[in-house]
């Protein structure tokens, strides 16, 4: 039995609690126990990261040090969090001066970063800890071939030499899991392009254009749903479909990977928080064989 320290980040607990719950219940199905992390802080992604390298190292470094204290690897379910924790681990493991500086601050509360705890994104847990065969064996209500498009998230898969999740130009983990669950994984133009989410702060109009471009590319393939593995991507790809640029076309449901897998594994909708999904995915999730 494998255990992880479960770092849910700032956004998921508030904006997408169904994702948080679904990850927990789906992984439990495969014997993986997630332990909540208490007394943690934001990883520092994008904002602190942009203005103070060392403060960013300290913020993510503290999360890693708490995981070490728990004696566990970290599971992150957001691209920004998993990306930050991995980038910081990469640097702290190679730069002893930086590590000493961070540890001098952590020491004041009895914490220490040594690099013992690894960081995994959810997609890695499916591939490395559970494995495709085990997922396949656990599917009891397969979908009936519904067409689904995977969106991986930039910070989930890049930079590949550091995050080590999937092929950055041709990622396959979500696609394989869609197929295993009985869906049809559909390719589309610009699959590895950004959702536009990180641009919202600086220029909402540009962010929306990038998001809508992605939605249009997906729509061109007659897809019935979009499957995500990052809270920011999920929210961005959902909310742009409610904006003025979206036009009159029918909205495409956006759903997180564990919320797609859950019903096929026999988990009920309420436990997975399906009713909280902004564009109802009912049609997809009821399309069983």
């Amino acid at each position: 039995m494998k255990e992880f320290a479960y770092y849910t980040g700032c956004t998921t607990p508030v904006r997408l609690p169904g994702y948080e719950a679904a990850v927990k219940v789906v992984l439990e199905k495969f014997g993986i126990i997630l332990n909540p992390m208490k007394d943690v802080n934001c990883c520092g992604a994008q904002y602190v990261e942009s203005v103070s390298h060392v403060a960013f190292m300290a913020m993510s470094g503290r999360i890693l040090a708490i995981a070490e204290q728990m004696g566990m690897d970290v599971l992150a379910i957001c691209g920004a969090c998993s990306g930050s924790l991995k980038m910081v681990k990469h640097e702290l493991d190679r730069d002893s001066e930086l590590r000493d500086e961070v540890n001098a601050i952590l020491e004041e509360e009895g914490l220490k970063y040594t690099g013992k705890s690894k960081v995994k994104h959810l997609l890695q847990v499916f591939r490395e800890d559970i494995g495709y065969n085990a997922v396949e064996a656990a599917i009891i209500r397969p979908y009936n071939g519904i067409r689904l498009a995977a969106h991986y998230g930039c910070h989930v898969t890049r930079p590949p030499e550091i995050v080590q999740v999937d092929d950055p130009e041709n990622p396959t983990i979500i696609d394989r899991l869609i197929e295993i669950a009985g869906g049809t994984a559909v390719d589309y133009t610009g699959k590895t392009r950004c959702c536009g989410g990180p641009m919202l702060a600086m220029d909402e109009e540009v962010a929306n254009k990038i998001g809508i471009d992605k939605i249009n590319n997906i729509r061109a393939e007659n897809v019935e749903g979009i499957v995500t593995a990052c809270v920011f991507c999920d929210i961005q790809l959902t909310q742009i479909q409610f904006g003025g640029d979206a036009g009159e076309a029918e909205k495409i449901p956006v759903i997180t990977l564990p919320q797609l897998l859950g019903p096929a594994l026999g988990i009920d909708f309420d436990t997975l928080g399906i009713s909280l999904t902004k564009i109802s995915p009912q049609k997809i999730l009821e399309a069983h064989q």
Binding site: Y47, P159, M199, D270
Partner: protein, 172 residues
């Protein structure tokens, strides 16, 4: 002259004092590797959607030493850090990292977009991003899902960082 050796030694020019300054910052190390081929701009979704931003040109401005123009502009802050360009760069230039280095220098000198400054202030004060958005509604949703409603964020640490690394909210 040994031609092979010369090729190995080759540094792409021009390399301004500003470029050398960025090269010394964490993340900025790779800037001199840029050969200005433009693959980054060709891959960039921001560049596709607005004429204001061209990553190749931004790197070029740094290489040419347009220090004030770069630091005092929104350009370094328009990169989404999606790293699609890095995936395609044949010279392994880490543009997202370079622009982070430029942002850090800009922030130190007081050039920081207000949206970044406000969010940084919030995060350092609260310990996390969404304190103000976490209302009874979200708490009820969590309760229904059997999730912990007390999120238990720590802000003592971020306040400590603010004191140590940020003077009056500005990056030191």
């Amino acid at each position: 002259m040994d031609e092979t050796n010369e090729q190995v030694q080759l540094k792409h020019t021009p390399s301004s004092t500003f470029a050398k300054e960025i090269e010394q910052e964490p993340g900025g190390e790779g800037i001199m590797k840029c050969i200005q081929c433009g693959m980054c701009t060709a891959s960039c979704m921001v560049a596709r959607m607005t004429e204001r931003y061209r990553p190749r040109k931004l790197i070029q401005k740094i290489l040419l030493g347009k220090r004030e123009e770069v630091l005092n502009s929104e350009l370094p802050w328009l990169c989404m850090t999606c790293r699609l360009c890095e995936e395609r760069c044949q010279e392994d230039v880490d543009l997202a990292e370079i622009f982070h280095a430029v942002r850090e220098v800009a922030a130190r000198e007081g050039y920081i977009p207000s949206v970044f400054q406000n969010t940084i202030d919030k995060v350092l004060e609260d310990g996390w991003l969404l304190k103000d958005s976490y209302t009874d509604f979200e708490e009820d949703d969590r309760d229904d899902l059997g999730l912990e409603t007390d999120l238990g964020w720590n802000n003592e640490f971020t306040k400590k960082l603010k004191k140590r690394y940020f003077a009056g909210g500005d990056a030191k």
